[in-house]
């Protein structure tokens, strides 16, 4: 069995006094897109924020390539090679597209320029609007900027929280294509409510309910399993 890149075991996370995550466990394997699914409020975003150290878990373990990262500061976790695309995208609207990338760049060398070229190939709009204020981009372009920004660094892992949120179907297709291309460069954890997107990108899936991981498997199994989809995702037919 291949070693997982990320292994999350039995984490519990509080927000203030609220016990939000009550036992989340999953493993992310190289070469795969791992999709986290579940109804609104199930704890998917909180899980990503726990991994990033923004909401440090009170118990459980998180290992990145066998190295424990729970308790590290967000900036330390990021520097170990985890990129994060939050649910609200986290764009710096007042900065230009170029400046958004500059903040993300931890080094600026030949490799960075190569990666920038790859990014421009996958997201040509970002090259076109390089000098524009990020706040003036369309919703889809903002999402692309949010996804592309962490890629300027050599990351092990990219966490993407609901990239389809608020976007038109045709743009969602475009984002799906882009993420397909990214699989070659980084391992991806995708949180997604849009089952069409989740099923077209996912290899492994984990189902969340009430702050716990309750099911796991291969995406093809979930696509077939009407009962699971109905129970945890509210999808019928």
């Amino acid at each position: 069995m291949v070693e997982p890149i990320l292994k999350v075991e039995e984490i519990h996370t509080f927000i203030g006094k609220h016990h939000i995550l009550q036992g989340v466990s999953f493993a992310v394997h190289p070469g795969k897109v791992t999709v986290l699914l579940g109804r609104n409020g199930a704890g998917k975003s909180t899980t990503l924020r726990s991994i990033m150290g923004l909401l440090p878990p009170s118990q459980g373990t998180i290992n990145l390539k066998n190295r424990p990262i729970k308790g590290l500061k967000p900036y330390e976790i990021s520097r170990l090679g985890i990129g994060f695309v939050p649910e609200d995208r986290g764009i710096y609207n007042l900065l230009t597209v170029e400046e958004n990338f500059r903040v993300a760049m931890l080094q600026e060398d030949g490799k960075t320029r190569e990666r920038m070229e790859t990014i421009f190939d996958i997201f040509p709009d970002l090259k076109k609007f390089w000098k524009a204020k990020a706040g003036n981009l369309s919703g889809g372009q903002k999402q692309m900027l949010a996804i592309a920004r962490p890629l300027v660094n050599q990351n092990e892992l990219l966490l993407i929280d609901e990239p389809s949120k608020g976007l038109a179907p045709i743009i969602i297709d475009h984002i799906i294509d882009s993420i397909h291309m990214l699989k070659e460069y980084t391992v991806i954890i995708l949180v997604e409510q849009n089952f069409y997107m989740a099923s077209s990108l996912g290899n492994d899936f984990y189902l969340f309910d009430d702050g716990k991981t309750v099911h796991q498997g291969q995406m093809e199994e979930l696509i077939q399993n009407e009962e699971l989809k109905k129970k945890y995702l509210g999808i019928s037919g």
Binding site: K73, S78, Y92, V103, N153
Partner: protein
């Protein structure tokens, strides 16, 4: 189009206020008062910019900022006197040596108060990040302590602030009285504004700071230790307050322990008018306050402070987020 108009709208207000007193003042006096108003504005800018930047980036309401300003004035006072005893440059007829001693005193004051700012941020402010209410309590406490320390170290009385000899008096330009020091203050203030602006706009550190004003969490998950930047911005803001304090004291030629409390009110007003976190907003806001204060002080002396409040109310009713809410 609409966006451009929004950008220039604040300038129009400044311009209107700038010219309106011509209706009631004779042109020569008007120029003299205008220079003095611009000088007051640039000095207020130095205090307010630090205050505004600290609020915008750290989201900290630092009411001890005025005390840092007072410390800046006192350290500037002592440095100037010590260097002058040793070199006599303050009384020299060479304007160059006058500048050297003046700038040395400001630099020493800026550096020492930056250090004081770092200590304040680490010990007093860090525990109350995120809570404005606690920040108000604790920074007012820090302000009182710092003010008392001034009384203990330098004594409770007013002191006369030394002024380099060539900075005194005025030039006569076509019958218009142009005071020397206010002009010098305007130039130094403007240079400092340009320096801050370029740092924020052109350097990587500045870009990260601007990103942090908008979304500090995202800056952290991009691998930057935001607390180091917090400390840096706090130190820079404190240094600006100190330089402002030293220059202000030279302007009014005196210092006293409570001088910080008076100026913090102005700093707050300027920062809010300009848009919290915006450096250009601070300049425009400070010039507005400085000019209107001086015009009104000449026309109706009793209404001078009132006009500042009125200005605040008017601008906030038109633009609740201040003149330059879009940053830098």
């Amino acid at each position: 189009m609409n966006l451009k108009w929004k950008r220039w709208f604040p300038m129009l207000i400044v311009f209107a206020i700038f010219l309106s007193p011509l209706l009631g003042i004779n042109p020569k006096t008007y120029i003299t008062i205008t220079i003095s108003g611009l000088a007051m504005g640039m000095l207020l800018f130095l205090v307010s910019s630090g205050f505004s930047l600290i609020f915008g980036f750290l989201s900290v309401l630092n009411l001890a900022h005025g005390a840092l300003f007072a410390w800046g004035a006192y350290i500037g006072f002592t440095s100037f006197n010590l260097i002058n005893q040793w070199t006599g440059w303050g009384g020299s007829n060479s304007i160059f040596l006058n500048f050297i001693i003046f700038l040395l005193a400001l630099i020493i004051s800026g550096l020492l108060v930056a250090l004081l700012g770092i200590i304040t941020e680490r010990s007093v402010i860090r525990p109350v990040y995120g809570s404005h209410l606690f920040q108000i309590f604790i920074t007012v406490g820090a302000m009182i302590v710092m003010e008392e320390l001034i009384r203990i170290i330098w004594g409770p009385n007013d002191e006369v602030m030394p002024v380099p000899i060539k900075f005194m008096g005025s030039w006569d330009v076509f019958d218009v009285v142009v005071s020397k020091y206010p002009l010098i203050a305007i130039v130094i203030g403007f240079i400092l504004y340009l320096v801050i602006f370029m740092i924020l706009r052109k350097t990587k550190i500045g870009t990260i700071v601007r990103a942090g004003v908008e979304n500090p969490e995202m800056v952290q998950v991009m691998g930057h230790n935001i607390y180091r930047y917090f400390t840096g911005v706090f130190a820079a803001g404190s240094a600006l307050a100190a330089i402002g304090g030293g220059m202000w004291a030279t302007f009014v030629k005196s210092i006293h322990p409570a001088m910080g409390g008076e100026v913090i009110v102005f700093a707050l007003i300027v920062a809010i008018i300009g848009g919290l976190g915006s450096i250009t907003g601070s300049v425009v806001g400070a010039l507005l306050v400085g000019l209107s204060y001086n015009y009104v002080a000449y026309l109706i002396p009793k209404a001078a402070l009132g006009i500042t409040m009125l200005l605040l109310v008017i601008i906030l009713s038109i633009r609740p987020t201040g003149l330059f809410p879009e940053g830098t």
